[in-house]
Structure formats: structure tokens, C-alpha cells
């Protein structure tokens, strides 16, 4: 592909007869890429394969502007329009012989996997710092001491299990639609997860911690809720993974399977979030700790927003989407 000084070149249409070659020169699409904000011509590609995908065009664009690797490119037909997808084929887009694409820089990108691993490894490690009462957190006479309450040890096991599960799921279960997200997200997300983990862990492992009012009964009930919801959450993650073959980005309606935990799909679009909220409510009851309850509330708010968005996309994409389902709470929300 030759990259010329950005001048529109019109090829003569008085070309060869169709019989001689499948794509007469005049029918090779050309692509010009303009900056969406300044309209400056950044790149001109002639003789682009008609069946080229946006992904391939992005790769070509990177050749002339190496600082804009494909993950940070947003190409669109209209400066203010939606981004084109990597799988879109040039020929199938509503463009003439010369396709004009507008480019926006999405900023530095980081992979989802990296973000997830970092944001989940933090709480795992930080909680343990408080659990083992490393120096400079509580008074010096408490350094490396152990709590005398069973529930504190149980809470550490649950919290650690939760984040180990998340790390393993990130590595082996989840199939991500997007490869990357903006770099600034990692700072935002880690502050949230790590900050709350430290805040909760401080109180639960504090020498002056007060165990739950209703004692062992309360802890047992809470533990049951926690375990059931963890199993539920894992079941949903597996079910969602099985919907999508490896390496693909297909989207299908999830349905209940033989696993009873997945039957929640009958009532909600995102039962993984439902179970996640349930786990944290269980943990809050178990520890009877206000910061945990606040963390659950904030998490619930965020997950509700995500669930509503997901629910809306399902409805938009699938005509036959089950009408009984609510986004996150059966019948309510």
C-alpha cells in the first residue's frame, strides 16, 4: 500500500473489462484517515483490499504512526459517531470508492487481564498484612499477635478465598470482549479495591474488634450465605464462558443449565452480580462491620449500573429476550 501526500487521487473509471481481472483498478477502495477533531489528513491508503477489516486498516495506520498502536485507535465513519468494530469489513460499510475514516486517540491502553490481576492481588495481600498485624498498623504491643475471636480467622479465610477465586477466574475462566481499557483505569480501580480492603481489614483485625451480637448462630448463617453465593457466582462465570468459544467475541442469550445455581438466569440478566452482592452481604453479617456494609453498598450500586447496561444491550440485540428477567434483583431492579 503506498502512502502518498494527502491528496485525493481519483482513478479513471475507464478501466479494463470485468472479464480480465476480478477487481479492476478503479474498484479498489481507497481509505483516507482524518483526525476527528482537527480534520487533518493523517494517512491515505490506496488499493485497499475490499474485504479488508477495520483491524487490518488499523495495522496499516500504525505503520505510519507507530505511537498509535491499534488498541488505542478509534476509527469511525462520522467524527462524532460510534467507533467501528475491528471485525467490520470495509466493503460492507456505507462508503464510496474513497472511504473517509475519522481517527480518535483513545489514550494509552492497558490489557484487561493486567488490570484485573493487579486490582485483585492488592486486596489479597493487604488484608493479610492487617490479619498478621504487621508493625505500624496497631499499637506496638499487638505486633504479630493473633485475634482470639474465631470469626476473625474465618473472615480472613473467606476474604482471601474470594480474591484467590477472582485471580484464578481472570487467568482461566473469563473470556474478555475487549482486550484493553484506558490506562488511567488501573489507578482508579486499584485505589477503590485496595483502599476499601485496607479500610475493612483494619477494623476486622483490630485488637478492639467486637464479634457479632448473635454469636456463632449469626456467623454460621452468614458463612452459609457467603459460600452459596461464591458457588453461585462461579457457576455463572462458567456458564458465561461456555457460551462463547475460545478467541471469539460472539454474544448469546445465557440460559439456565443443569447446575441449579444457574437457574437464577430465569429471573435476572446478570446473576453473577446478584451472587456477588450476596457474598458481600454475607461477609458483612459475618463480621458485623460497618465498613464492609458500606463496601457492599457501593459495589451494589456500581454493579446495578453495569447490570442495567447489560440488560439494555441484551434487549436491543435479541428480539426474543425473556421478558421475565430483571437486570440484577429478581422482580425488583
Amino acid at each position: 500500500m503506498s502512502l502518498l501526500i494527502p491528496e485525493k487521487i481519483s482513478l479513471s473509471s475507464a478501466s479494463s473489462s470485468p472479464g480480465r481481472c476480478p477487481f479492476p483498478t478503479a474498484e479498489y477502495p481507497e481509505v483516507e484517515i482524518l483526525d476527528a477533531k482537527t480534520r487533518e489528513k493523517l494517512c491515505f491508503l490506496d488499493k485497499v483490499e475490499p474485504h479488508a477489516t477495520i483491524a487490518e486498516i488499523k495495522n496499516l495506520f500504525t505503520k505510519t504512526h507507530p505511537q498509535w498502536y491499534p488498541a488505542r485507535q478509534s476509527l469511525r465513519l462520522d467524527p462524532k459517531g460510534k467507533s467501528l468494530k475491528d471485525e467490520d469489513v470495509l466493503q460492507k460499510l456505507p462508503v464510496g470508492t474513497t472511504a473517509t475514516l475519522y481517527f480518535r486517540d483513545l489514550g494509552a491502553q492497558i490489557s484487561w487481564v493486567t488490570v484485573f490481576l493487579t486490582e485483585y492481588a492488592g486486596p489479597l495481600f493487604i488484608y493479610l498484612l492487617f490479619y498478621f498485624r504487621v508493625p505500624f498498623i496497631y499499637g506496638h504491643k499487638y505486633d504479630f499477635t493473633s485475634s482470639r475471636h474465631t470469626v476473625v480467622h474465618l473472615a480472613c479465610i473467606c476474604h482471601s478465598f474470594h480474591y484467590v477465586k477472582r485471580l484464578l477466574e481472570t487467568l482461566f475462566v473469563h473470556r474478555f470482549s475487549h482486550g484493553t481499557m484506558p490506562l488511567r483505569n488501573i489507578f482508579k480501580n486499584c485505589t477503590y479495591y485496595w483502599g476499601f480492603a485496607a479500610w475493612m481489614a483494619y477494623y476486622i483485625n483490630h485488637p478492639l474488634y467486637t464479634p457479632p451480637t448473635y454469636g456463632a448462630q449469626q456467623v454460621k448463617l452468614a458463612l452459609a450465605i457467603f459460600v452459596i453465593c461464591q458457588l453461585g457466582n462461579f457457576s455463572i462465570h462458567m456458564a458465561l464462558r461456555d457460551l462463547r468459544p475460545a478467541g471469539s467475541k460472539t454474544r448469546k442469550i445465557p440460559y439456565p443449565t443443569k447446575n441449579p445455581f444457574t437457574w437464577l438466569f430465569l429471573l435476572v440478566s446478570c446473576p453473577n452480580y446478584t451472587y456477588e452482592v450476596g457474598s458481600w452481604i454475607g461477609f458483612a453479617i459475618m463480621t458485623q462491620c460497618l465498613p464492609v456494609a458500606l463496601f457492599s453498598l457501593v459495589g451494589f450500586t456500581q454493579m446495578t449500573i453495569w447490570a442495567k447496561g447489560k440488560h439494555r444491550s441484551y434487549l436491543k440485540e435479541f428480539r426474543d429476550y425473556p421478558p421475565l428477567r430483571m437486570p440484577i434483583i429478581p422482580f425488583l431492579l
Partner: protein
């Protein structure tokens, strides 16, 4: 910062008034739906009432000054209207939420809540609690020995006339807010009626240069003055151990608030300066063409 945030939010067409300044705003090609006739009428009334309210506060300050002969402790003369009208500004959050004012709910909330916080949680609270705190010890006070000294303190608390409200710093931010709000609400009133005098627009986008730093100084000094009282009385603080395994140190919280002014104030201030250049020069060009 409450002053800064207010003026910035104002510059973004925020707050109670809504409506853009007609030709003056450099919003260019933006399509504005605007509030319906009923909403416009309500907003005009709201903004007129607020302008009047802050004028009452301004007049109250002047009269108290002339009567007393000094500028100390003028807060008491305008305490009630100040609380009423500043708290009333909470309605502006509602206006954004229901869409009759085209501004961000988050920004408006931040702006109004920071004002309301300063009025109630700092200026108002640091007086009464000294008396309540010592009589009603249901709050867990921080150092255990404080409870032992309570009887002695009870007899002296009634005489403890010193509190935040008599600080001069309170006057500093009250004046800054009063002038800012009178201009801001009249700006919105005139904008809604499509008859914005250039003087008002100029004032809104120029006086902040002095009023912002003035307001911020007043606010910071007031919070700083409140600190010893908060520490002594354990105001709004809860300590371990307790049933819900939670603690909150209002003293530390206030210090964090003060620190937050450092990143936030410059951003708001320079945003306003940028807005000023954009909007006032745009009007100049318009005038040239007339």
C-alpha cells in the same frame, strides 16, 4: 472552595438559574432545549427569591456593622437568613436532576454540599455541641480521661464564649459568598428573561478573581479555628470498641478537607479564568459587529 466551586459551576451554566446567556455564551453550535414555560417561570421566581435573600444578608451585614461600630462577630446578625438561603440552594441539585437546568448533578451537588457543610457542620456545630457534649455523653469520647474531667468542664462550658462563629474568618467567606451569590442569581434571572446586561456578565466573570481567594481563605481559616474545639469535644467522632466495628475522627476528616483544597482550588480558579477569556472576548467581538 465552596466559593470557588459555586462560581465555577456558575460559569458552566450551573446552579439554580439555568438558561444560557443568549448571545454572550461561547457555546457555539450546541443545541439547547431549554426549560419549558412553566419551568422557566418557576426558575425566574427561584432566582429572584435567592437574589433577594442574599441582598437581605448583605443589607443585614451593613446595618449590623453600622450599629455595632465594628466588624467583629457580625455573623450573629445574619445567621438565620444565611442558613436559610444557603441551605435552600439544595434545590438546585433537584433542578439539575429533573432536567430543567442543563448542568451536571454531580458538580452542582459538590458545590452546594460543600457550602452546606461549612455552614452547618463547621460554623453552626462548633458552638452548640460544646454544651450538649458535656451533658449528654452518649457519644464515645476519644480519650477516656475526659469523662472524669466532665464535672469541672460543665461549670466552665457555659462561660466558654469562644467559638468559631465569632471568628473574623467567618465574615471573610460570608462577604465573598454574599457578593458572588447576588451576582450569580441575578445573572440567571436576567438570562432566563433574555435580557442580560453586560455589567452583570462582566461582574460574574471578573469579580471572582478577588472573591474566590477571599472565600477560600475565609473557609480554610474557619475550619482551622474549629479544630481545637472538635478535638476537645470529640465532635461527631466515634471510637472503638463498638458494636459495628467502625470509627470516625472528625478532626482528621476536617484536616483532610483542608488538604483537598490544594488540588481542587487551583483547578477551579484557572477554569474560571479560562472561561472568562472565552466569554468576555466573545462578547467583545459581538459588539464589534453591531
Amino acid at each position: 472552595m465552596a466559593a470557588a466551586a459555586a462560581a465555577t459551576a456558575a460559569a458552566k451554566g450551573n446552579g439554580g438559574g439555568g438558561g444560557r446567556a443568549g448571545a454572550g455564551d461561547a457555546s457555539g453550535t450546541r443545541k439547547k432545549k431549554g426549560p419549558g414555560p412553566l419551568a422557566t417561570a418557576y426558575l425566574v421566581i427561584y432566582n429572584v427569591v435567592m437574589t433577594a435573600g442574599w441582598l437581605v444578608i448583605a443589607v443585614g451585614l451593613v446595618r449590623a456593622y453600622l450599629a455595632k461600630g465594628s466588624y467583629h462577630s457580625l455573623y450573629y446578625s445574619i445567621e438565620k437568613p444565611l442558613k436559610f438561603f444557603q441551605t435552600g440552594a439544595l434545590l438546585e441539585i433537584l433542578h439539575c436532576a429533573i432536567g430543567i437546568v442543563p448542568s451536571s448533578v454531580v458538580l452542582t451537588s459538590f458545590q452546594v454540599m460543600s457550602r452546606v457543610f461549612l455552614i452547618w457542620a463547621v460554623t453552626h456545630s462548633v458552638k452548640e455541641v460544646l454544651i450538649h457534649q458535656l451533658i449528654d455523653s452518649s457519644w464515645a469520647l476519644l480519650p477516656p480521661f475526659h469523662l472524669v474531667t466532665t464535672p469541672r468542664l460543665m461549670s466552665t462550658s457555659a462561660k466558654a464564649g469562644r467559638q468559631v462563629q465569632s471568628e473574623d474568618s467567618v465574615l471573610l467567606f460570608v462577604i465573598a459568598w454574599t457578593i458572588t451569590e447576588i451576582i450569580r442569581y441575578s445573572f440567571y434571572t436576567f438570562s432566563l428573561l433574555n435580557h442580560l446586561p453586560y455589567l452583570i456578565k462582566w461582574a460574574r466573570y471578573t469579580l471572582f478573581i478577588v472573591l474566590y481567594p477571599m472565600g477560600v481563605s475565609g473557609e480554610l481559616l474557619t475550619i482551622y479555628a474549629a479544630l481545637p474545639f472538635v478535638r476537645q469535644a470529640g465532635l461527631y467522632s466515634i471510637s472503638l470498641p463498638n458494636k459495628y466495628n467502625f470509627s470516625f475522627d472528625y478532626y482528621a476528616f476536617l484536616i483532610l478537607i483542608m488538604i483537598s483544597y490544594i488540588p481542587i482550588f487551583p483547578q477551579l480558579y484557572f477554569h474560571m479564568i479560562h472561561q472568562r477569556r472565552k466569554i468576555l472576548s466573545h462578547t467583545e467581538e459581538h459588539k464589534k459587529f453591531e
